[in-house]
Subunit: 263 residues, 3 copies
């Protein structure tokens, strides 16, 4: 079976960066199936990249290699790592980019990528995607074992604020805005279940209060704010036919609260 | 021969939506060749998506599966359908998205996609692309017959205004603006042939009159408006080296008229 | 081994142009591996496209076919050409698009693409990408020899200003701006070596002076201008965490100078 390698970066689509990575991969693993996840992660926005990775990894076949590079610290001391979970392999910088994936699929092995056999001989200080991550991912997809990459190592936990649940209130943050202007938060459906069971809720964000959860984007009247548990299981704020992020003027990192609805 | 599946959506390139679809497809049909048509159809603009599909289907080999999702009614009552034409298979929502393709390639079979064997077991209310259309397209590409998807069904004809030809005047609409700012209309070269044969014509759009047809974009002086029959056979308005849509301030749905030139 | 065909164009990602090209290629060469380099070259900006091609060709395996279409003169008299270098094949318009690639990999054969067997029978005046370059690239990837495409021919050298080195000063131009706002110039690391060896230098651009070279983007304090030799070997101006091109208000074609630093 041809191995699958997915690519998630903030390199954009206007340059040759991603194609150089693909050339390196195909030179090492000619049968690899390359799947672009996105190259439009907001530059350096590790948490948004981590969220996107979480939304796609459950849908790929076992054995898929997910290479991701959102790496504002390229050239600094952060390690390059390869992680094996039960079903998949993750390759990228050790900066938290895989932390949401690993919440659902715990790491079985983590190795530092250091073996000169599996990276390029000239390492550009600014393009580890091409010179370290691409060849490592290609060798892993070709069947090289993860422990050949380098010594075992710990991996970094990012210090992102987590969801808090207390006194009848869930507080979280906006972590991603999608193409449609839908606001994705770090609050998940399971958080709501724990605190509110089936009670009516209200969501406060950007100075507005959104009453209750909808099932679909088209359930609310056109132009009105709605909340729903999106296809990734996260709480989203949307506007039927509109752009919620622009309307509310909110950004990644903005607070959002969920409360029991007043009756 | 590895089956080809093309993907046309309004999901954008900044999220994981398209990659989740590809993961589902490759899990079911590992040999599928995936070709992105575009994921940048204007959100919910079914007619623009329909036009793009019409421009690409003639160029793909027989047996290609074209999956398309521009689906403002996701989660509503519209059906999910699979259509077989003489040479290709179409998979998507029943909302008119395939209507331009079917004008040239009449449907031989249309089936509602309902068979639980060929869709995912948990259907998100907001992401039928991943949960219904992707698995159905993958099974069809793998050789499952279209009548296994579900019962035969009719398909919806959209109520888009069509081209009118009367009293020496052809009236149509703008249906797409391309990357270069060229305005694409629903008027085709064949309409002009019928009404004007080889007579000189003039095109009225956005308060401007464009005299006659050019053969190429560079035939008119730089910066001036020109009209031509584009590579899809549709009447286009362009500016040599400029952005006609911005210059004219016109949008999808704006009227355009073609008249016999005054001498 | 499945042949690789890369695609570099200014066709954008919002239309069906690129997919039509891929359909034509896969109809002729079903096993081709298609790699998108970018379709977002600034419309008609041949030099920016030429730079991008230079950054990716060294990373693809021998035998790769690179098809590129940035072609403001489509439909005019410029020839369609196929070029063989020691390791790769280039297909596109004869307008200088391959000139940077050929500086490093001299052409062994150049042929005009004219043979009716290897192009489509109906040639649109506005879409040679689909009707000439795509079928030619697919046939070449399938193993057809380059001399079957048409007669040998010379190729055009663009009249772009080149780097000048005199009186202790290197003068060049901005040729590309990348996704991060980094400004790429036509001055390369080797130019600096020749004139300054290891002496300290200063770079003047957009009314600002940047002192010396950094090794990485994160070496300078956040928000300050820095210069470095980027992953392509070219001199770049960047801002750690910022967008240098917007900050400086410079565009392709703007001058840049490198001088010995005053002590």
């Amino acid at each position: 079976m041809a191995p699958i390698i997915t690519l998630t970066t903030d390199f954009g689509e206007t340059d040759g960066y991603v194609a150089a990575i693909k050339g390196v991969i195909l030179g090492i693993c000619p049968t690899a199936r390359l799947v672009d996840v996105t190259h439009s992660v907001a530059p350096g926005d590790i948490r948004s990249g981590a969220y996107i990775l979480r939304t796609i990894t459950p849908y790929f076949p076992p054995g898929t290699v997910h290479m991701a590079v959102v790496d504002p610290g390229v050239g600094s001391a952060r390690k390059a790592i390869a992680i094996r979970t039960e079903a998949q392999i993750l390759v990228g910088p050790d900066n938290g980019l895989f932390s949401f994936v690993l919440e659902n699929s715990p790491p079985l092995n983590v190795h530092s990528i250091e073996n000169q056999r599996y990276i390029r001989s000239n390492i550009s200080a600014t393009f580890h995607g091409r010179d370290i991550f691409a060849p490592a991912a290609a060798h892993l997809a070709s069947g090289i074992q993860i422990d050949a990459m380098g010594p075992p190592c710990p991996f970094s936990h990012p210090d992102w604020s987590s969801v808090t649940m207390e006194q009848g209130c869930i507080r979280g943050e906006i972590i991603h805005t999608d193409r449609f202007g839908n606001i994705i938060t770090n609050i998940e459906g399971r958080h709501l279940k724990v605190l509110f069971q089936d009670d009516a809720i209200a969501i406060e964000v950007g100075g507005q209060t959104v009453p209750g959860l909808s099932a679909t984007y088209s359930e609310a009247p056109p132009g009105t704010l709605l909340a729903l548990i999106g296809s990734s299981g996260h709480l989203e704020i949307a506007i039927n036919g509109g752009h919620a992020a622009s309307f509310l003027g909110v950004h990644h990192g903005h607070m959002i609260s969920v409360l029991r609805a007043k009756i």
